[in-house]
Symmetry: C2
Subunit: 136 residues, 2 copies
DNA sequence: ATAACACTTCAAGTAAGCTTGAAGTAAAGA
DNA sequence: TCTTTACTTCAAGCTTACTTGAAGTGTTAT
């Protein structure tokens, strides 16, 4: 069975070892085995759990709700409604976030074009280009 | 000239009045005029500034960098490089965020389908549907 | 006029999510 | 063997972004 040290996990997921310990303290990660000298030994089950955690976390779900999700998952039939409510709500939330992101991206891109226009005008010593307005 | 009370601004942008005062303290909002009894009078310039702030903030730019941006904007020719670096960096950042969001959305949607499958199996009293695997 | 409510300042408090430091143990290389 | 390096725990500290509370002033409704 494949195992991983805390350092390997840290590199693989690009998060500090301290954060891995913190998540374990919170109960977000399932119990981690130890070597005789108390060093953590992670397995593929931690890999997949951490992947799940980061998928939720990176889309803005608070750690407390991520915790809820994995607690519900211990007894799926007993928590069907909570689980489905959590994931479908979060699905809608992500869709909304993407929409807003795209709209905001358009605004930022407008600014990029605007300032590039000014920069070009300054460099070529020409007059202020009046064909575009301030964006902020 | 159109003016707005703090309450109107609060409703319009759906942020508490205390946050508007806080942004003003930080210098994120340009100086706000007052009535004889010291109540804030916002104008369209605050509307557009706040729109800009929220566009940055909602895409994850920290308030400190938003502050930088608006300080740079006071003297655009003197800060061309900083401004362009800030906005283009942030543009790339948002694009990356959207990409990751979409990928994470796909994962969450997989979970939604997975748990809906289980729910259906439970409700119809049928056996566990083996055609789909755990997703977390 | 008097109560209720909205606004003001300013300092202190809160919440989330880590991060750091001290003090100790253990393995690995010169 | 000695030193460097990596890990350990646990509590305390930090950062960001607000939020709340106290104490006071002003405005509005009955």
């Amino acid at each position: 069975m494949q195992t991983y040290t805390i350092k390997e996990m840290s590199k693989r997921f690009n998060i500090p070892a301290s954060t891995l310990r913190y998540y374990e303290d919170l109960g977000l990660l399932p119990p981690v085995e130890r070597t005789s000298s108390d060093q953590r030994i992670y397995t593929d089950c931690h890999i997949s759990r951490l992947t799940g955690i980061l998928c939720f976390k990176n889309t803005g779900l608070p750690l407390a709700q991520i915790q809820d999700f994995f607690r519900y998952e211990e007894d799926i039939p007993g928590h069907m409604d909570e689980i489905l409510s959590l994931v479908t709500t979060h699905e809608q939330d992500i869709k909304q976030q993407i929409k807003e992101m795209k709209s905001n991206l358009a605004h930022i891109q407008h600014k990029v074009r605007y300032y590039n226009g000014i920069k070009h005008a300054i460099e070529t010593g020409r007059e202020w280009p009046c064909w575009e307005e301030s964006s902020s």
